[in-house]
Symmetry: C2
Subunit: 139 residues, 2 copies
DNA sequence: CAAGCAGATTAGAATTATTCTAAAAGGTGA
DNA sequence: TCACCTTTTAGAATAATTCTAATCTGCTTG
């Protein structure tokens, strides 16, 4: 019998290897939580709690290591909007953020319609890395 | 003899009282470092080192307390651009930031010329707090 | 498909930034 | 000056993150 390979089921091992990362059990478990389903924002603690709920044992240190590796590999983007904690965003397309200061929630919004005009030129000897627009709101 | 009161010498005690803060020795010493001279960006540790260099003894805890109080009183603005540490900006006019990621330096740029158009409306039940534009560059 | 090795994981200690605590000191109105 | 309430302080505590050193595991090779 021929086995059906559904392209609808994302193969995280392949995806990790493509990013130059060995597909270990914990990295695959974390990738599953992060990348199946839509775009998300996680903190290290939050992701750790979530992966534990899937009955995979992953240490908090590994969650931190993995988040940093995923970010370095271009699978995640780190977002710093509040003192003390980092958020990691699975949406790698060009976009900006709403930050609800009163409850620490972060939401994407597409940059399609957003225009930032009149920015000064970067200081000499520097090259542009990216432009972040953070819309801070309160409840 | 009539004493001359020069308006060119900023009276930090008065300024603090106007902001609802008692002008204690350490608050005045910190205000002097922060507000005499042009706009600046400081971290708690950096400010602590600077004030010690003026031969005033101010504990690190007081530096933290004071930065938070000054921020709450509208004398400073907190800027969060990098994980782990907060910057405090003495420039309270409307402006944005360059952040030189490679060496952690922060620079203002005026928002006169900058236009941010096409922002989506804030989520229901929230009101706009402010819009930050951070231009990240690397050496 | 066993062996070996480089890379990954882990628990717990360490580090860093910041806040808290409780006691001592200081600013201020009467 | 006194009394009172606020501030300051040293050091302990907390929170987020990184480090360490030992153990484990993918993966390549024979």
């Amino acid at each position: 019998m021929v086995r059906m390979i559904s392209s609808a089921i994302p193969d995280f091992a392949v995806r990790l290897r493509a990013a130059g990362l060995r597909p270990t059990r914990q990295r695959v478990a974390l990738a599953r939580v992060l990348f199946e389903g839509g775009d998300r924002h996680v903190t290290a603690e939050g992701l750790h709690a979530e992966v534990k709920a899937t009955s995979h044992r992953v240490s908090l240190a590994t969650v931190y290591n993995t988040l940093n590796q995923f970010r370095d590999a271009g699978l995640l983007r780190e977002v710093v909007v509040a003192p003390g904690r980092s958020y990691f965003d699975t949406n790698m397309s060009h976009h900006h953020h709403f930050f609800i200061e009163t409850d620490g929630e972060l939401h994407d919004f597409p940059s399609d319609k957003v225009t930032v005009a009149g920015l000064p030129t970067p200081p000499k000897g520097t090259k542009l890395s990216r432009v972040d627009v953070i819309v801070r709101v309160r409840r």
